[in-house]
Amino acid sequence: MIQNNALTLHVEEITKDFVGLRALEDVTLSLHRGEILGLIGPNGSGKTTLINVITGFLKPTRGRVRVGDTDITGWPPHRIAHVGLARTFQTIKLFRGLTVLENVEVAAVSAGLSRPQARERALWALERVGATHLATIPAGALPYGEERRIEVARALASRPIFLFLDEPAAGLNEQESDTLLEMLTPLPRETGCGMLIVDHDMRLIMRLCHRLHVLNYGRTICEGTPNEVRHDKEVIAAYLGSGRRMLPC
């Protein structure tokens, strides 16, 4: 793992074409350690695609992804994970036949820990997300609401330097969303990771994020603090068009 607190993740002019569709066009952003960046935009605006490009699940058509001086563009996902990037999935992907503890432990093992060390780390990560009591349950038997927390714990267990969360609040009610907020807020400060979060829960996003980056049809339409973004005309128009409410407050 790269050990440098000053490291920054750079996404440079990423374009991603699918057959007959440009999902991302010239997207540039950077993510610093210790900060929380919100990536928002209407459905289909390319948020998941961008996470997939950064973490190696998709190869960009053009553009680079760098971590510090290391160009990781086009690397396979498992190598990118070893650089210290961890993610969750919008469509939950747990190891359903393994226990919750094993789900998290295997991430720590894959980051290079021995099994006893990995167990300690996994218990730490489960405690962070408030799921210690679920440790021995098979992941396939978890109630829906708990699954996303386990995915976050699994991502945390590798002690990432950059963490990507794809809609961690999907399906949560207000109270659960508040719990998530409490859980996520101190993470970057305490673990030193940079966090990029995608979500449609604007209550959460506005309170959690230091900065926002807004996509629409694959293009950056706005960047800034939550307050700046909230009042941006183009952002409001994009969200009006999508029928989603941008401003809860």
Binding site: H78, A81, L98, E102, R115, R119, L123, R154, A157
Partner: protein, 334 residues
């Protein structure tokens, strides 16, 4: 923090190997030769299905190639265990540098395992990118290739003809030792870091890659280890049966161990053990009935293939009623 006891492989080891050892002891003391031979077959089958479990059970990728590795183990151990005189009789065209080579039985068995592992290592890496139907087809092709080589490389295999003249070194206790040893190995492997990573990749490839698991690599290691175990099983079988041809390492035997894995439940080592015992019992039982029918003059006909029919029915029933096998992914005693 420490209230969670760590996953441990030895309680299951004891629980599974205990009854097997008792069974072996009872048959050794009180059973006749026929029963002893059946038990040797059981323990060799067990070794073989454990080899399959190590790869298929943990990775979720089906391999039809295992019996090819059994054949490689059988022939290469034979080349190293047979006396120069026996080779001169049975393998007239053997490369001359191999004729005088003779090593102790145990060494020959290990060589058998190593040769199988080497072949698996060389051909396996590109195969490990595959899963699902593609893996079935590719590993099946590998079985056919190995079979074709065994039939045609007559310098070392005597071609399609029977190779004879091996010593019957594989006693009951040799087969028991192998079965128990690899039982423990399989249980231990599951709980290693690599075993855990492999099981995670079985459940979800994308999630496994996202946490840094190199799926091709972990599968490849398991494939090579599994080939070693299966090669050893082949070597033991060769020195039990003492004469065989390449036909012994083909479809019927493949069907047999796949049915063991499916009936018992390949995701757990306990399932592999249950499958090996159940299928060997069905197989030997039905074969006994078949022989009885054929020997007696009561019936105006003879039967053949009854064992395959019964195994197929058992397998179909299991697939319908309990698709993940008798034990599924559970390890005894849970």
């Amino acid at each position: 923090m420490h209230h969670l006891k760590s996953t441990s492989w030895w309680p299951t080891s004891l629980l599974l190997s205990g009854p097997l050892l008792v069974l072996a002891l009872v048959v050794y003391l009180f059973g006749g030769e026929v029963l002893q031979r059946i038990l040797i077959v059981l323990f060799i089958n067990l070794t073989m299905v454990l080899g399959l479990q190590i790869f298929m059970g943990n990775s979720g990728v089906v391999s039809f190639a295992q019996i090819g590795f059994m054949g490689i183990g059988a022939y290469s151990s034979a080349l190293f265990s047979m006396s120069p005189q026996a080779k001169a009789m049975a393998l007239r065209n053997l490369y001359s540098f191999l004729v005088p080579v003779q090593v102790p039985f145990v060494v020959a068995v290990i060589i058998g395992g190593i040769m199988a592992a080497l072949v698996a290592a060389l051909v396996g890496y590109p195969l490990m990118r595959l899963s699902g139907a593609a893996a079935v087809i590719a590993t099946f092709a590998l079985l056919i290739i190995v079979h074709t080589v065994l039939i045609n490389w007559s310098e070392v295999t005597n071609g399609p003809r029977t190779l004879f003249g091996l010593e019957a070194y594989t006693t009951l206790w040799v087969s028991v030792a192998s079965g128990i040893l690899f039982l423990i190995l399989a249980l231990w492997f599951k709980e290693t870091r690599l075993g855990l990573q492999l099981r995670a990749s079985r459940e979800d490839e994308a999630a496994a890659a996202s946490i840094g698991i190199n799926i091709v690599w972990v599968r490849w290691i398991a494939f090579v280890l599994a080939a070693f175990v299966t090669g050893v099983a082949g070597a033991l079988w060769a020195h039990f049966i003492t004469s065989f041809s390449p036909l012994a390492f083909y479809l019927p035997q493949t069907f047999l161990i796949i049915s063991m894995a499916i009936i018992g439940g390949s995701a757990s080592v306990s399932g592999a053990v249950v499958g090996a015992v159940a299928v060997t019992a069905i197989f030997e039982g039905v074969r006994g009935i078949e022989n009885a029918i054929n020997i007696s003059t009561v019936f105006p006909f003879t039967v053949s293939g009854l064992t395959e029919v019964c195994l197929s029915i058992a397998m179909i029933l299991i697939l319908i009623l309990r698709p993940s096998g008798i034990l599924g992914s559970r390890e005894l005693p849970t």
